[in-house]
């Protein structure tokens, strides 16, 4: 076996260098483990009660890390924008084959239930698992079902643009109102008593913001799926 010919010197030296680096790093890491690790999660769980929201994950996502959520929505918006730009939305074609009778009837039966479940997940995001992102994607999957079953169906572009713009602007506006009232971006300026924890109307602005996030995610995902399905094949 000719090792020298099969493995070149640079590959071998690179491998040896990375292996030695990993060994050094592990050595440093294992010898310097602190005795009592302070975790971020414990601090956040201690603070969770102050906002009166039953679901701790929602408090972290929307309140303590609300600015990050704004950034995530911006990332999703940019993805939707890129797909809309690349797949030219003016050249549209419907699906060629007529969809099955079974699929049509089942989608008419299922579509309201899926939309209702999406709205439930969105509105109860501060009480039970779920929230804006999940609810929005559930609504988008309902729209997707309607898109693949009814080939003449199309999401109205202008309405979706209005809804999405409204949602984005109101997110930033709520944050700015918090900045004015409480000197803090996304400050919780609505009543958020801890005695209301578990009620539908609790937590101040947190459920409102999660509903806004859900509306924005739902409209963006609906546009992404529509652009992907109704794309002309001869672009």
């Amino acid at each position: 076996m000719n090792l020298k010919r099969d493995i070149s010197t640079s590959t071998f030296s690179g491998f040896a260098l990375s292996a030695s680096l990993i060994i050094t790093f592990l050595n440093v890491l294992l010898n310097n483990i602190p005795v009592d690790i302070k975790r971020v999660g414990d601090e956040l769980l201690k603070l969770n009660g102050s906002e009166g929201v039953a679901n701790a994950v929602t408090t972290v996502v929307v309140y303590f890390r609300g600015f990050d959520t704004l950034g995530e929505i911006a990332v999703l918006f940019i993805a939707s924008l890129g797909i809309g730009l690349m797949l030219d939305s003016n050249i549209r074609c419907n699906l060629k084959a007529e969809s099955n009778f079974m699929l049509k009837t089942a989608s008419q039966l299922l579509f309201p239930i899926i939309i209702l479940f999406g709205i439930y997940v969105m509105v109860y995001g501060h009480l039970s698992p779920g929230g804006g992102f999940q609810g929005g994607v559930i609504i988008a999957s309902g729209v997707l079902l309607l898109l693949i079953s009814h080939k003449e169906f199309e999401v109205p572009h202008s309405v979706i643009t209005l809804i999405e713009t409204f949602a984005g602007i109101s997110y930033v506006l709520i944050g700015l109102i918090g900045l004015v009232v409480l000197d803090k971006f996304l400050g919780n300026f609505l009543p958020n008593n801890i005695s209301d924890m578990g009620l539908l109307l609790s937590g101040g602005i947190i459920p409102i913001i999660y509903i806004i996030v859900g509306i924005k995610v739902g409209s963006e995902m609906s546009m992404i799926t529509q652009n992907l399905i109704k794309r002309s094949d001869d672009v």
């Binding site: 679901n55 994950v57 698992p129 779920g130 999940q134 999957s141 997707l144 992907l228 794309r231």
Partner: protein
């Protein structure tokens, strides 16, 4: 009992993932990838992260697989 379930789901995910990358047809790979997502939904739920489980079920198993399938349809027609 719960440990046995966790272990079997873990092994199942590994087997499904390995068979997903060795399939010859891309559509089969996408379906198996959906199976990996479903297994991780069970794991997230057992490990007390229902929020993440819901997200994974909706996005990982639902809409991303459908988007992959649509992309595959367009690619296959172009060939």
């Amino acid at each position: 009992m719960i440990g046995f379930i966790i272990l079997s789901v873990f092994i199942g995910i590994i087997i499904i993932a390995f068979s997903a990358i060795t399939q010859k047809k891309l559509a089969d790979s996408i379906i198996l990838f959906m199976g990996v997502s479903l297994g991780s939904v069970v794991l997230f739920f057992i490990f007390k992260a229902p929020d993440v489980a819901l997200t994974e079920a909706v996005i990982g198993a639902g809409i991303s697989s459908l988007i992959f399938l649509m992309a595959l349809k367009h690619l296959g027609e172009k060939k």
